[in-house]
Structures are given as structure tokens and as C-alpha cells.
């Protein structure tokens, strides 16, 4: 069943945000933002810096609490859940400024990503019983699948601290995938990547959607990537929703153009009078 791309009305939505607002002191970072993310689609948030996109992510990850408005995931209210319960619900995220575990190897980072599926508790771990051993083997199998998907084999035992930026972004993505989420939040996946790496990222996002069946909600600035992979786009500016629709619809929206490029009036004063 192909979703109706413009209005997204197939089945129950995975994530529903209603009138979300969050205020930090005097600053209204997010103002009455509403949107729905359908299962299996790639939904992108765009907007100039400071528009509140990462703040929306932080609201979903429960790092912040909304001042007003609600967030529902699979019908459940998110705002009464503590941050560490978000992973168990099936939401994974990557961070804008990479938050990897620097003093651990890539493999260990991925295995930590697998934490919610760990199966064996503290006492079992302490004596490394059969249950722990089996849990470990299952975790490694899961991690290896992700390593295969993203081509991280040569880096498996490297410490993250020594890796270049581009590779770290891939590890960050891999770690989020190890959580086997239903919803993946990608915060600026292509920032800092060169053309080839961005190309790889585009392929991976498409693979994530089609092969793994994961819904992707991402924040992105690179418009070519946005147009290529997104099903629907939400444009934000100064904490408010500007436009919602397919990439083409949103990019043609006058409000969006004004937010990015400014209006005709802004530049008219620069126009030289005809000689």
C-alpha cells in the first residue's frame, strides 16, 4: 500500500506531534508544531539554523519536556516517559555533534547499541552463565549484520577516538541501527561529509527504509540529499511550521524560499538604478 505522499493518510501514523511548544526561559524554541510521521516513510525536517529542528528531536528523545502539546508514538504518550525508556519503545537517534563512546572500540559501541535486547541481567553477567554467553553471541550476530550493511569491517576493533569524522558518522548510524528501532532519528546525517560519503549515506538511508523497514525522521540541510531520499518534508523557521509536503512542493513554497533566501524586498534596495 503506497502512502499518499502529500497528505500521508495511510494507516495509523507512527509518530504524532500535536501543537508542540517548548520554552527555554524567554525563548520560544518550538511554537505550536504539529506533524505526523507515517510508518515506513522518510520524513525530513528542514529549516535554517535555529529553527528548532534539533529541539524537536530532543523533545522526542525526552531530553527536553514540552511546555505544551503532546507527542504520541504508536498511540502511546511520550511525555511521561523517562529518557532511558525511549530506546525500549523503538526509537533510536544519532546526534548532531557525534556522541560516540570515545574510549571504546567500534564493535563495543555497536554492542552497547544492542543494550535493550541484552537478555541477561547483572548476576548472570557476573558469573557469565549460559544465558549471558548466548546473549553475547546474539549481540555479536546482530552487530555483524549492521557492520556488513555499512561496510565497517576494517574498523571493527579500532578505537573511536582515532577515527576520522566521516567514519564516526557511519559508526553513529551503525550504533543506532543496532538498536533495531522502529523509528530512526537522524540529526544532520550528511553534515561534514564529502560528496562520496554523502552518496553512500543516501544509499544507506534508502536501504534502511526498504530493506530494514525502519521509519526515518531526519534533519537535513543538504537539499539534494533531501530531494533524493525523502518522501515528505516539513519546513520550519524560528520554531514554527512553514510548509509540509513532498520535497518538490516544499521547495517551491514561497514562505520557504523567503526563509532561506530572503524576499524580493530585501534585495531591492541593493539594485542599482538603471543608468
Amino acid at each position: 500500500m503506497t502512502p499518499n505522499l502529500s497528505t500521508g493518510t495511510s494507516g495509523t501514523p507512527l509518530l504524532v506531534a500535536r501543537d508542540l511548544s517548548v520554552r527555554f526561559g524567554g525563548v520560544l524554541a518550538v511554537n505550536q508544531v504539529s506533524f505526523e510521521v507515517q510508518r515506513g516513510e522518510v520524513f525530513t525536517l528542514i529549516g535554517p539554523n535555529g529553527a528548532g529542528k534539533t529541539t524537536v528531536f530532543n523533545l522526542i528523545s525526552r531530553i527536553y519536556t514540552p511546555t505544551t502539546g503532546t507527542l504520541h508514538f504508536e498511540g502511546q504518550l511520550l511525555s511521561d516517559k523517562p529518557p532511558h525508556d525511549i530506546a525500549a519503545l523503538g526509537i533510536a537517534r544519532t546526534f548532531q555533534n557525534i556522541e560516540l563512546f570515545e574510549n571504546a572500540t567500534v564493535l563495543q559501541n555497536l554492542l552497547i547499541g544492542h543494550h535493550i535486547h541484552r537478555g541477561a541481567g547483572f548476576w548472570s553477567n557476573l558469573f557469565f552463565t549460559r544465558a549471558s554467553r548466548d546473549a553475547e553471541l546474539a549481540a555479536r550476530l546482530s552487530a555483524e549484520r549492521v557492520i556488513d550493511l555499512l561496510g565497517l569491517q576494517p574498523l571493527r576493533d579500532s578505537f573511536v577516538a582515532g577515527l576520522p569524522y566521516g567514519k564516526r558518522k557511519v559508526v553513529e548510524l551503525a550504533r543506532a541501527l543496532c538498536m533495531r528501532p522502529k523509528l530512526l532519528l537522524l540529526d544532520e546525517p550528511s553534515s561534514g561529509l564529502n560528496v562520496e560519503e554523502t552518496e553512500d549515506m543516501a544509499w544507506w538511508i534508502q536501504d534502511i527504509k526498504t530493506e530494514l523497514g525502519i521509519t526515518v525522521l531526519m534533519v537535513e540541510h543538504d537539499m539534494s540529499l533531501v530531494s533524493r531520499v525523502s518522501d515528505r518534508v516539513l519546513a520550519m523557521n524560528q520554531g514554527e511550521v512553514l510548509a509540509l509536503g513532498t520535497p518538490a512542493e516544499v521547495q517551491a513554497h514561497p514562505g520557504v524560499i523567503e526563509a532561506y533566501l530572503g524576499s524580493v524586498d530585501d534585495v531591492s534596495s541593493l539594485r542599482r538604478a538603471a543608468a
Binding site: N58, I63, F95, Q96, N97, E99
Partner: protein, 291 residues
């Protein structure tokens, strides 16, 4: 009148804690490192004054400022030689380094024959004199402590608020790399901060000397200044003062009203309560990392 007496002794002890805590917070505000050797710097300042007075025979009014200036230079040298190489390393590493500095300083002093191994008195000119206020007997030493602390706070406030140096210090503490880019001489600033901190510690030592006498283990009092800094909020200078006063008063009253032994741990109990109730201290800012 026991109340007023306790109040005064609490405030004056609190001022000592405040001065030491001020030293911590100065360094923390500027370089986000914690100096566990602050107590030992205080001890060195007191010994400096002692040596200048006993061996060189100079009067207190000459020896004391000289000791303070000497410790300023020592603080700068310490930063240059020992702290600078590891700037940017995790906090724990720097804490361990300063613990090492403290150990070494204490050990070296107690190795000096005669001076280091004995307890000495510092002959301050106002020693032993008392004044009477509202029936309470206050020694001039306590008055000196309170007075000097007040003046110092005012001077530091003016410096941080209005001088370029103060603002530069705040900039280097928040983002060292950006401070470099802005043309702030970061390394020189760090040196100055450590120098200033050591000078404040020396001042505390000289003020404390008439009360506790000068000996190699004087630095342990510095440990009580940590609760003071935490109670006030580690990044806040007024917090250090308020925290010091709080701890001083709590100790004074606990010593009088509570059974034996509570006085020693009163400060620490206050810290733990504070960390549960208001983890960032009275004046501390929000410590959340932005992601």
C-alpha cells in the same frame, strides 16, 4: 552572648574557608580545573611570611605583602611548569596532578629541618588584642580576617566585572580554542589566574596563622573549603564566599550545640544535603550539556 560569640567566630572561620574556596573557584572559572593543592598553597604562604619575619627579621607589614607577592609568582611558575602541559586532559587527570603537587609541597616543607617539622607562631602586630562588642569578645585577628576578605571580594568583583582581564578570564574558561582565536593570550591568562589564586591562598594562610599556628599540616583545613565551594556553586565567586560563611557558621554552631565529633563532619553533611537538594549549589548555573 554565646550566640554573638559563635556568630563572630563562625563568620571569621567562614571567611578563611571563603578565601580558600575563592582560590578554587578562580581557577575553576578560568580553566575548569580543580586545584586540590590550594590548602598547601595556603600553608606555603604562611611559611613564607614566617620565614621572612623570623630569618630576615622583617616586620609583619613588610613580610606579609612580600609573601603574598612571592606566592603569586610561585602560582604562575606552578602553572607554567606543571599544569600547562596537561591542559585539555580530563578533569580527573588534573585533579590527580594537583593532589600530587599538594603531597610534594607538604612533604618538602616537612623535610626542611627545624622549620618544617615544628609548629611556629606568627607574630602579627595585632595579636592578642581584643575588642568588646555587645558583650562579646572579638579578637582583632578575627576582625582582620573579616575585613580583608570583604575588601578582597570587592576588588575581585570590580576586576571581573569591569576589566578586560576579568572578561578574558571568563572567555578562556568557557572555550579555550575560541579564546585563542579571539587573540586572548590564553596561556598568560592561565598563569595570571593561578598566580592570583595562590596569592589569595597566601593571604588566607597569613590571616589564619595567628589562630592555628604555622605547621606543615595546615593545608588540611583546605579540605573543608571544598564543601564551601560546592555549597556556593563551583562556578560562582560570590557563591564561594557565601558557601564559606555557611560552612563556617555551621561548624561554629555544631561545635557548641551538638555532641562531640559532629563539628568535624558538619561541613560534609551540609555538602551531601546540598547535593541532594540543589546539586548545582546556591549560585551555580545549569550544568546540562547541550547536544
Amino acid at each position: 552572648m554565646a550566640f554573638v560569640q559563635l556568630l563572630i567566630s563562625g563568620i571569621s572561620l567562614g571567611c578563611i574557608y571563603a578565601l580558600i574556596a575563592l582560590g578554587f573557584v578562580l581557577i575553576y572559572k578560568a580553566t575548569e580545573t580543580v586545584n586540590f593543592a590550594q590548602g598547601e598553597l595556603m600553608m606555603l604562604g604562611a611559611f613564607g611570611g614566617l620565614v621572612l619575619m623570623k630569618l630576615a627579621g622583617w616586620s609583619f607589614w613588610f613580610a606579609a605583602p612580600l609573601a603574598v607577592v612571592g606566592m603569586f609568582m610561585f602560582g604562575m611558575a606552578l602553572e607554567r611548569l606543571v599544569i600547562r602541559p596537561i591542559m585539555g586532559q580530563p578533569q580527573f587527570t588534573i585533579v590527580m596532578l594537583t593532589i600530587g603537587v599538594g603531597y610534594t609541597a607538604r612533604g618538602l616543607i616537612s623535610m626542611i629541618p627545624e622549620i618544617g617539622t615544628e609548629t611556629h607562631t606568627l607574630d602579627v602586630p595585632y595579636k592578642g588584642e581584643v575588642i568588646n562588642i555587645a558583650g562579646a569578645v572579638i579578637s582583632l585577628e578575627q576582625v582582620a580576617i573579616i575585613g580583608v576578605t570583604a575588601v578582597l571580594c570587592a576588588l575581585l568583583y570590580l576586576m571581573f566585572r569591569y576589566s578586560k582581564l576579568g572578561i578574558a578570564m571568563q572567555a578562556t574558561s568557557q572555550n579555550q580554542l575560541a579564546a585563542y582565536y579571539m587573540g586572548i593570550p590564553v596561556r598568560r591568562i592561565n598563569g595570571l589566574v593561578w598566580g592570583l589564586s595562590a596569592a589569595v591562598a597566601a593571604l588566607a594562610g597569613l590571616l589564619l596563622a595567628p589562630i592555628t599556628f604555622v605547621h606543615a599540616n595546615m593545608g588540611y583545613i583546605g579540605l573543608k573549603a571544598f564543601p564551601a565551594a560546592v555549597v556556593g556553586g563551583f562556578g560562582s565567586l560570590p557563591g564561594a564566599i557565601v558557601g564559606g560563611l555557611v560552612i563556617g557558621l555551621v561548624e561554629a554552631f555544631a561545635g557548641f550545640y551538638l555532641p562531640e565529633g559532629f563539628k568535624d563532619i558538619a561541613a560534609y553533611v551540609v555538602v551531601l544535603v546540598m547535593l541532594v537538594v540543589k546539586p548545582n549549589g546556591l549560585f551555580g548555573g545549569n550544568l546540562r550539556k547541550k547536544v
